[in-house]
């Protein structure tokens, strides 16, 4: 099981815009990944699941996958969470 732990950097947490960008990337990558806060684990490609985590700035989240390509996918998703996705101009969104 590949696993990464990262702290949510977006100023307003993992909510609408940052959550959407994260989920879109998880869908695009096509590798099944789960995102976990404490005991609660949800699929990274589910908008509702990610929102239900209620992660705010500074929340530690863990990404996990045992699928082929897991390492590259986790690295890409960790890189997203580690930047402030609320900043206008972050990515293309």
């Amino acid at each position: 099981m590949a696993q990464r732990t990262v702290t949510v950097a977006s100023a307003s947490g993992l909510h609408a815009r940052p959550a959407k960008l994260f989920v879109q990337e998880a869908v695009r990558l096509g590798v099944p990944v789960r995102i976990r806060v404490g005991e609660k684990s949800v699929p990274a490609n589910s908008m509702l699941g990610v929102l239900s985590l209620g992660a705010t700035q500074g929340t530690e989240v863990t990404l996990e996958s045992d699928a082929p390509g897991a390492d590259a996918a986790l690295d890409a998703l960790v890189a997203l969470l580690a930047q402030d996705l609320d900043a206008e101009g972050a990515l293309d969104g």
Partner: protein, 142 residues
């Protein structure tokens, strides 16, 4: 979900809108009417939607303003606006909008509570198909 976030007057269950922008304006108006936000928040909601869709799945969208518009938020609040005939939301049919006004991190907890409801198919359906204000209040407060 916090009890004071949803004013029963901000629950509108029999609305119709020709398109997404009209639906968002209806939500913004509901938030203005209960004194949660000032008028400019409505344009900020439209602006946010153009940047990225607030569709979350299960026929539900959660329109809200840009980060810059937090200045015109007077207090945290949500509105629940139902469009029984549906609204085309960039290709997705939306029948329920939960409009959000929040300062700081208040909305993240609020969204988490809403997402938990929507992840439960029974509760999601009860919310989408509610015809009485009391049903909505009950779902969101339990």
């Amino acid at each position: 979900m916090r009890d004071d976030l949803l004013d029963p007057r901000a629950v509108l269950l029999h609305e119709s809108a020709a398109d997404r922008d009209e639906a968002i304006r209806r939500c913004g108006r509901a938030l203005v009417d209960v004194g949660a936000v000032a008028e400019p928040y409505i344009d900020a909601m439209l602006e946010r939607e153009q940047t990225i869709s607030t569709y979350v799945g299960e026929g539900v969208a959660i329109p809200h303003g840009t980060a810059a518009a937090k200045e015109v938020v007077r207090h945290d609040a949500i509105c629940v606006v139902r469009f029984p005939d549906g609204v085309d939301w960039g290709g997705e049919p939306v029948t329920l909008c939960v409009g959000i006004a929040a300062k700081n991190d208040g909305h993240v907890r609020l969204l988490a509570a809403l997402a938990d409801i929507l992840l439960d198919p029974e509760r999601a359906r009860a919310l989408r198909e509610a015809t009485e204000v009391g049903q909505v209040m009950k779902e969101l407060r339990s």
